[in-house]
């Protein structure tokens, strides 16, 4: 039973005013502009876009400012804003083979066409705090080389030629959309990938890590990781043809996994796939590992009861907005609910006390 309680309006209003003041912090310190967040906290912006499931760097930067840097709160703001917008249509699937790669590495092949391009990576840094950054350090100028303008082929194509890896067959149906229809199980791979790409990074990382530690181990190699810009085309009905409607920075990860073969398939490598908005390689590698673990049924593998094999468990708990909504609602007033619990406990104790009394008397 819910009973409306009034009287909190003034307190709420004052709390929000104080929140605004706290958000600003010390006014002797220059105010942070969304453009600074977009340009200098870019990876935070990318995470908010990926999990907010809306590509718009300016909006994500503003949301981070409004949320005082609370990433899940910022993602919540993005998700809420998205629901107010009409959808003009669906794009053609992005061609990641045509990506302008800014980073492209393979852990399986040293010498591959297109080469190993490190890009602006944290890898191989010493993870020592750089105090120069706090002292207005000079920005070094990036070195340049001869730009490579030909397409960078996917690593899996080489394995495909030998028939050593399962093929990803091209289909062209309209994919299911969990933002339009409620999630139902068993979920198709298309639905699983949509859920994973917007799932919480920490949750996805934890699930992926569990497979590495032995819960449904599939011994994954990063066949390829690429980060860069892709063009996205969409059919425009009033024109009667497609135009490039957006340019997006994406991170793609393809894992190559051991597979001993099954009744229908010869021994070969299998694949896990991750594709995420922005530069977010931890998330895309995690996504690929979890995608692969969830494919046990398609590949005729055993269900070993590992959490990462349980599609319902993974997809139902990976969305941080759903999770935080349900989790945090328990802090909101439940006075009447609790009152009835209190009554119940008191009654049980009275009854228990009465019984004890009887026993003592006997």
């Amino acid at each position: 039973m819910y009973v409306a309680v009034k009287g909190g309006e003034r307190a709420i209003e004052n709390a929000h005013t104080w929140l605004a003041e706290e958000r600003r912090g010390d006014t002797d310190v220059a105010e942070l502009q969304p453009a600074q967040i977009r340009e200098q906290l870019t990876l935070a912006v990318h995470r908010v876009m990926a999990e907010g499931s809306l590509y718009d760097p300016d909006l994500a930067a503003l949301a981070i400012k409004q949320a005082r840097g609370d990433m899940i709160e910022a993602i919540f703001l993005i998700r809420a804003y998205r629901t107010t917008l009409p959808r003009f249509g669906g794009t053609h699937p992005v061609d990641t083979g045509a990506m302008h790669c800014e980073r492209r590495i393979s852990a399986t092949f040293k010498d591959l066409p297109g080469g190993q391009v490190l890009g602006p990576t944290f890898d191989y840094t010493h993870r020592l705090i750089d105090f120069k950054l706090a002292a207005d350090g000079d920005v070094p100028t990036a070195q340049t080389g001869e730009p490579q303008n030909e397409k960078t082929p996917h690593v899996t194509e080489f394995l495909n030629r030998e028939g050593l890896i399962e093929e990803a067959l091209t289909e062209d149906n309209t994919p299911p959309d969990l933002t339009r229809e409620p999630l139902e199980f068993p979920a198709s791979r298309a639905l699983r990938l949509q859920a994973l790409t917007r799932a919480d990074e920490g949750f996805t990382l934890g699930m992926a890590y569990s497979t590495q530690r032995g819960y449904a181990r599939s011994h994954a190699f990063v066949g390829e990781l690429r980060i860069g810009v892709v063009q996205v085309e969409m059919d425009i009905p009033e024109l009667g043809f497609a135009i490039e409607i957006a340019e997006l920075t994406l991170t793609e990860c393809e894992t190559v996994n051991q597979f001993k073969g099954s009744k229908t398939e010869p021994p070969q490598f299998t694949r896990g796939y991750g594709l995420v908005f922005g530069q977010s390689e931890r998330k895309s590698i995690s996504m690929a590992l979890v995608d692969r673990a969830l494919r046990w049924e398609d590949l005729g593998e055993d269900d070993v009861g590992a959490p990462a094999q349980d599609v319902e468990f993974v997809l139902s708990h990976g969305d941080n907005i759903q999770a935080t909504g349900f989790l945090e609602h328990i802090k909101l007033p439940h006075y009447v609910d609790f009152q009835s619990e209190l009554e119940l406990v008191r009654k049980l104790r009275r009854e228990a006390g009465a019984t004890d009394g009887q026993e003592a008397a006997e």
């Binding site: 990641t96 340049t144 990803a168």
Partner: protein, 152 residues
């Protein structure tokens, strides 16, 4: 409405260029031309989203990756040409400029627009892209094998 059909390939190219040009840039270049154009809005600038799709394994089953913001606008010139503009992001002025440029590209002043608006946009985009590609190229690993002594 058109005297002759517009070349679809060319139109696709300029609309694509306008869709992803930096904020305010196409509007600025158009303004520099000081054209006195009268038009009527068919569809006022409107912000919405498109659902971006990917493919499992890069080449397989399509799936929904997430949405991106887009602004669109349609208008018609007094002389009858209809222009459509679609731009990435929430940019109402740019969407209207894109629609206006699309309409004007179907008129006699198309060469002027090509030279003073579209060509600079294309060059700037190319320069920007090449600059990033050059930085990426400098981070390409050049492996060399060190000969170890045990076989000698």
């Amino acid at each position: 409405m058109l005297d002759q059909p517009v070349d679809t390939t060319a139109r696709k190219a300029w609309l694509s260029l306008l869709a992803t040009s930096p904020e305010g840039r196409a509007s600025e270049l158009l303004e520099n031309l000081n054209l006195d154009t009268s038009f009527e809005l068919l569809r006022a600038p409107e912000i919405g989203t498109v659902m971006v799709r990917g493919r499992a394994g890069g080449t397989g089953t399509p799936f929904n990756l997430g949405e991106a913001t887009v602004t669109r606008c349609s208008l018609t010139l007094a002389s009858g040409e209809v222009g459509h503009g679609y731009v990435q992001g929430r940019r109402k002025t740019d969407a209207q400029s894109a629609a206006l440029i699309d309409a004007l590209m179907q008129t006699a002043i198309a060469p002027d627009l090509q030279r003073h608006v579209l060509d600079p946009l294309q060059e700037e985009k190319q320069t920007d892209r090449q600059a990033r590609a050059a930085k990426a190229a400098a981070t390409k690993v050049e492996f060399f094998t060190m000969v170890r002594g045990e076989d000698q």
